[in-house]
């Protein structure tokens, strides 16, 4: 993975937000861009590229990428279902939603379907507790989940994937 010129410009813009010499501050925002460009996960190669662009040591990138839950260090499915299971969501049936997804897609927590479409990643509180149960899908939240809604989301993802191919 190497940043396109467009993404590189975005990276430069982010680096300019900080005082002279403090451009390492751009690391997390830039890792988000790198992950998006690299099919949803950070390979060593992608992280090394980020280190080069920010002019910092690769280890400085690895230690950060391994700390934050949003960075995936292994390949993931095209769509990641990040279902919250913390207290408030549990009170409203998140366990049942997770069980339903496991059954429907025949995968366990942390696994990806064999066709590379879906990954199930249990999550801790995402700030949508009053609209529980919920999941994060890409850059958005899906809230007030029911089994029917989960079915509809899976169909929607399959359709989108077919359209983009």
């Amino acid at each position: 993975m190497k940043f396109s010129q467009e993404k590189l410009n975005k990276v430069k813009e982010i680096m300019a937000r900080y005082p002279e010499g403090k451009h390492k501050s751009a690391l997390i925002p830039v890792l988000h861009i790198a992950q998006e460009e690299n099919g949803g996960w950070l390979s060593t190669e992608a992280m090394d590229h980020v280190a080069e662009v920010l002019n910092i040591l690769p280890i400085e990138v690895y230690e950060v990428a391994t700390f934050y839950t949003m960075f995936n260090l292994k390949p993931v499915g095209k769509y990641i279902f990040e279902v919250c299971r913390t207290g408030p969501c549990m009170l409203n049936g998140s366990d049942q939603i997770i069980d339903y997804i496991k059954e429907k897609l025949s995968i366990k927590e942390g696994e990806t379907t064999p066709d590379g479409m879906f990954t199930l990643k249990p999550a801790e509180c995402l700030g949508a507790c009053g609209y529980a149960p919920m999941m994060q899908l890409g850059n958005h939240f899906r809230e007030h989940l029911t089994k029917e809604k989960v079915d509809a989301i899976i169909d929607e993802c399959r359709k989108n994937a077919a359209k983009n191919n």
Binding site: I56, M90, C125
Partner: protein, 449 residues
Amino acid sequence: MKLLLEHAHVEGIRYYDTYRKNGGYRSVEKAFKMTPEEIVEEVKKSGLRGRGGAGFPTGMKWSFLAKPEGVPRHLVCNADESEPGTFKDRYLMEFIPHLLIEGLIVSSFALGSNATYIYIRGEYAWIVDILEQAIQEAKNNGWLGKNILNTGFDCEIYVQRGGGAYICGEETALIESLEGKRGNPRIKPPFPAIQGVWMRPTVVNNVETLAAVVPIINNGGEAYAKIGVGKSTGTKLLSVCGNVKKPGIYEIDMTQTVEEFIFSDEYCGGIANGKKLKACIPGGSSVPILPANLTLKTAKGEARYMNYESLADGGFATGSMMGSGGFIVLDDSQCVVRHTMTLARFYNHESCGQCSPCREGTGWMYKILKNIEYGKGKMSDIDLLWDIQRKIEGNTICPLGDAAAWPVAAAIRHFRDEFEWHVNNPDEAQQRNYGLAHYADPIHVPVTA
């Protein structure tokens, strides 16, 4: 009484023109006619207390900011909002982003911050776009940039996205993260007011705190201080979740009783599905859980009110805390052991790992709670849990350790019989939750609104 959400339902309030037509950015005009010291003075007079959880007086915090000659200072807005039960900042930013931007401009001017950062949890990705659009609109209309309104004051606001880590809500971890590092809290002192981001003097404030600066400047600190009761001045946003009829965001002036808040139609609308109130965690997952009777009344038998002092009445023995305003309600079919187990898992997942009591202790608490919940617990496990939480509390670099210990302590303190029931009835514990018991009793004729 609404100050922050007064215009939240006006159509198009998310955009500049509508926001401005509804009185937006007046506080900036007013602030620029004042000196920074006068603004800090107004905030002091208002009695505003930090809305991020700790409730520290904002004006006092601002007056601690060091001002060494030639060293830039920074204001950082804490939009990490990750405490389970809390989703109020999200609502503010999503629906009235200009209120935050307006508060940030006034506060940046008061503190002398020419580059102000909003550190937002990475999962709120779409809100980053909303905020950046609002910032752009503010800039296009001359409220940000160089020499704003010919005052000679320069200010830029940048949105910084986090990477998914609860600990980055702790202000020194947030600062480390903003510097592009792991979110490991720093040992204090030095406090951020002396050495914060890039070792420069820094103020970190919560989203709601900074939004509240707008009505304080508009109406004056004294007028703000008249709202509310005692040291709980102004209005507070509550995010309500769990088993109530109407979960969501409520702005209150802190004069309501807890009973009115839970049961009246104006607020939560009572317990969902015809069930009874069993327990409540009034201020986000870190604060002590209270059984129904202590939720509604203090140990002295007086009504409990929705404010800092009353919620804390009785200390940890019989009270709780206002915290972040994440109001979690459990109905009588819910299992306190299971709920506590999910919280222990949360803190274990979120511990940064620097201090052994927190790193190891949270892991042990989760394991033991899981055993009890799944019918593999022993009676001695309950005392062991108590012992572990006591050894974490107060023995760590940052308060996450305490935040992990308190929910476990309170659950055992008030619901020990429920833990024992799990140990004594391992098979039944798998089949149904323990939801009967004394604490659902002295309840309840709903108040009509």
